[in-house]
């Protein structure tokens, strides 16, 4: 559909929020705690954080939770009874205040979870989620969305994208999808007709730092480079980068067993962990951190574009901000680009 452009007065955002709540929608929005913004279910407009560049974690958790219970089981002699995933438990959820580098990530996750096997639980959550995103009017040195095909005002993946027109201004609302139109219909008086608005001048300036297509081509011949060892020596091997990432989708299936009863669930996993690829035999094909770091970069910038036709990075910079050892993905990608092969 064509993008519809409307004007939302700055005072109307709170009214919109209240209307969503009145319509019994769960609203996830950024909330500040210990100086970090993260997505939480919120009941009042005033608890939504405003002054931050980026939430520490991406909003992927709403659609791809860190722990997703698939089933409960009960053993009774030789019989096993299974209670499967309850699709009725997936209710309509609004994601409020998402940045364009997160909304683009939902498309990436969608490609992963529907690559060969169609992940019905993921799809159920995605179809029930309405994404109300906000353009970025500021950025920091860790941001690089424009180098990976995004931009601070990109509508990709949003149902409605709001852009603040000036520091104390009203909002341009770009209604991108039918889900977005349904929200407009709930509160049509808040979405005024408007002439065309130049939103670009209100967006953050994020300079292009590298060419991802060049990186992809270079990586084809880069597998044995000594750069992986140099880059990864300071990596401590935790999973912070993967867990804050809007597109990292690796998981592990775990059982939580208590005698005759138990449950089976999907838990986030990270290729940075030394145990990620350990075989039952004890052999580990990625026995050192440089091989794990290589996998992270290759997966995002070589394997994913090859197999899924999407890149696995949205340039949000979260991994670099979260890393306790200052492994900065942008710095590493630039140094890969600069290497002559």
């Amino acid at each position: 559909m064509n993008i519809e452009r409307r004007l939302v007065r700055k005072d109307s955002l709170e009214k919109l929020f209240d209307i969503l709540r009145q319509n019994k929608k769960t609203v996830f929005a950024p909330v500040m705690k210990n100086g970090k913004a993260s997505f939480k279910p919120v009941g009042s407009f005033s608890s939504i954080a405003e002054d931050y560049i980026q939430t520490t974690q991406s909003s992927k958790e709403v659609i791809f939770p860190r722990v997703e219970k698939f089933l409960d089981y009960e053993k009774n002699g030789k019989e096993v009874s299974i209670k499967g995933f309850d699709y009725q438990s997936v209710t309509e959820t609004v994601l409020w205040g998402v940045r364009p580098c997160d909304t683009i990530g939902f498309g990436t996750l969608n490609s992963i979870f529907n690559w060969d096997f169609k992940d019905e639980i993921f799809n159920a959550r995605l179809s029930k989620t309405i994404i109300l995103s906000f353009s970025c009017n500021k950025s920091d040195d860790y941001c690089f969305c424009t180098s990976v095909g995004g931009n601070p005002g990109s509508t990709a993946g949003s149902d409605i994208l709001f852009t603040k027109l000036g520091a104390d201004g009203d909002y341009l609302a770009e209604v991108v999808t039918e889900k977005g139109q349904a929200i407009v219909a709930l509160a049509s008086e808040l979405f005024e007709k408007t002439e065309s608005v130049e939103k670009e001048k209100f967006l953050a300036n994020v300079p292009v730092k590298f060419n991802q297509e060049e990186i992809r081509k270079k990586l084809e011949k880069f597998f044995k480079s000594s750069q992986w060892v140099e880059q990864s020596l300071k990596c401590l091997g935790c999973g912070a980068c993967a867990f804050v990432c809007p597109t990292c989708a690796c998981f592990d299936i775990q059982d939580d067993a208590h005698g005759k009863i138990g449950s089976r669930m999907r838990c986030w996993d990270s290729c940075g962990y030394s145990q990620f690829t350990v075989h039952t035999s004890g052999h580990n094909p990625r026995s050192v951190q440089s091989q794990r770091w290589r996998q992270r970069i290759m997966h995002k910038f070589s394997y994913m574009p090859e197999r899924l036709s999407v890149y696995g990075c949205t340039g949000c910079g979260r991994c670099s901000r979260a890393c306790p050892a200052d492994m900065n993905i942008l710095e590493h990608l630039i140094s890969i680009q600069e290497v002559k092969i």
Binding site: S38, S232, C238
Partner: protein, 266 residues
Amino acid sequence: MDDLRKRAKELIDTSAVKVVIGYEQGTGNKTRALFVENSEVADKLIFDSRCVQNLAAYVTKQEVKSKGKMAITATLPVMRAIIQLASEFQVNDDNLIVIGITPESKIIDFKNLEEVETYVHQFQIEIDARNREILDKLDKMTPSERWKFWIDELSPCFKCYACRAACPMCYCSRCTVDFNRPQWIPVSSNELGNLEWHFMRAMHLTGRCVDCDACANACPLAIPINLLTKKMIEDAKSDFGGYQPSLKGENLLSTFKPDDKENFIQ
């Protein structure tokens, strides 16, 4: 700074060590680990109050250790960690040289780990005033208030294990939490699983923790997990007379004495 760079160059140029571990300017306002393997790189070494990552976490890493003999830029908490690691047979004079550094950026030359130990023993492990105040507040809470405090603080934890990775004392190649046959600690990051993980970690660090705050600094979600280990330091002091890392290897909670005053152990 010049002294530090000079010392690093000297160690590399005379082949006394293969790698010097220090700090360099990182991205944003961060500092980060620098591995000096040739003397030109030594010019990147810096030291200031932002350099709080505990570099001792690298000396047990196979990727760093395999380079050969190491030297490490060590503040007091790093020195304590080194002595504790030495007492647990993870480092020794043959594979590590310590370049001590005071808060005023003055270099201390140590001939061996015994000298490091002597230096370290001049200072007691003391909880700072700000955290002391928080611990007092926690002590005064009722058990249910305290339970709520920890559930609130720990439930955001997504078990990335940055705390474990940044801790010089968490060097086990296979952590208890990674075992699944049997599974001691729930893998999923739910409320109970998170509590069990952090409490288990605090218990394993009791009598060993050097109070460097690396775990809390590493946490991407800014969870004050170091309060747990700080509380353990306090308890170790009041119940067991406190501890100092020691080359003699007498770990506070893993040392058996035939004349122990508790009779359950005899």
